[in-house]
């Protein structure tokens, strides 16, 4: 018996990267912007989208891909508002894989769309490391979660092209240190825009929709 060392150098994101590239290529060909919303369970991603529908519809032709571990509830909420929406059920997986997103993406009427918003599975870790061929990742964080989340999950905030701080109407009732949170975000990703919104009282929603449309080439 003798020992041998075999150099391999094989990328372990291999299979996912192939599907992500397929999405990216098709997306660019069709001129579609894809935004990947990532945040904790309960940070208000679906509510934010519900309140975005009216003002975004006037500016962009868009569809939503809803990620969920087990249910179709979020898609039903948006469907009621007349949004073109598909539910992606991961059956237990903690993030959307590019393969699953691709399946839903190619089923959309791509020639009639400017934008696809993906609401990822509620999770600050796994979706951050998963390329789904998106234009940009957007981090969503609610004031109810505490200001330490960016420092605890730096990858997401480093990769994101924008941060939305939601539920600002709750600020008087929770001990959320906005200054410390903004400072940590700046440390991790100094050039990133931060938008503070309350889907409940509507504050910051104009800035949020402006941020979304800033990625799109097709302005209506």
């Amino acid at each position: 018996m003798s020992k041998r060392e075999i150099k391999v150098y094989s990328d372990l994101s291999g299979a996912n990267a192939v599907w992500a590239d397929k999405i990216r290529k098709l997306r660019e060909e069709k001129g579609i912007v894809m935004l990947n919303l990532i945040g904790s369970p309960g940070c208000g991603k679906t509510t934010l989208l519900e309140k975005t529908v009216e003002s975004l519809t006037a500016k962009q032709r868009f569809a939503v891909l809803e990620g969920d571990i087990a249910t179709t509830r979020d898609a039903e909420r948006l469907h009621k508002l007349g949004v073109m929406v598909s539910q992606l059920v991961t059956k237990g997986a903690c993030h959307l894989s590019a393969k699953l997103v691709h399946k839903a993406f190619v089923d959309l009427p791509l020639d009639e769309l400017d934008m696809v918003i993906v609401e990822n599975v509620g999770n600050l870790v796994c979706p951050a490391g998963m390329d789904i061929g998106e234009t940009a990742k957007v981090a969503v964080l609610s004031v109810a979660e505490g200001e330490d989340k960016p420092a605890k999950y730096p990858r997401l905030f480093r990769e994101a092209k924008g941060v939305v701080i939601t539920k600002t109407d709750l600020l008087p009732y929770v001990s959320f240190n906005m200054e410390a949170c903004l400072d940590d975000i700046k440390q991790i990703n100094g050039t990133i825009p931060v938008i503070k919104v309350s889907a409940k009282d509507g504050s910051g929603m104009g800035e949020w929709v402006k941020f979304l449309t800033s990625f799109s080439k097709n302005q209506h």
């Binding site: 003798s2 094989s10 372990l12 050039t191």
Partner: protein
């Protein structure tokens, strides 16, 4: 638990590599290189690897994980250095305009096998 998906890809890759060798080749160690920004918990990856290899010819092989710290390069002055804590900024001119040059690695580096002479 994104470690499980990564372990699946790893086991698939390792088994494919072993097929290229003689049947008597026994895998002793697998070395993977993982950047800190991948936010991988080594214990979880090891657990997933051990579970997934249970009924395969590579059962009992050791998984060695090499951890790569996060390094950034300043777009303004060219300084390059390790990120301390969460401070993704230049250690010289303090600019926030930096790019990550190390810490995103995720690859199978090498295999150690025992072969009959």
């Amino acid at each position: 638990m994104h470690e499980f998906g990564i372990a699946q890809e790893l086991v698939k890759t390792v088994l494919a590599e072993l097929k290229k060798l003689d049947d008597s080749a026994k895998l002793t160690c697998v070395k993977v290189v993982i950047g800190k920004l991948q936010e991988i918990v080594p214990e979880n990856l090891t657990f997933a690897y051990e579970s997934l290899t249970e009924d395969t010819r590579i059962k009992g092989s050791k998984l060695e994980i090499v951890d790569i710290p996060v390094t950034v390069k300043c777009n303004a002055c060219g300084w390059e250095g390790e990120v301390v804590g969460i401070a993704f900024l230049c250690g010289k001119c303090e600019s926030h305009d930096v790019r990550v040059v190390k810490g995103m690695e995720l690859y199978l580096d090498k295999l150690e096998v025992e072969v009959d002479e």
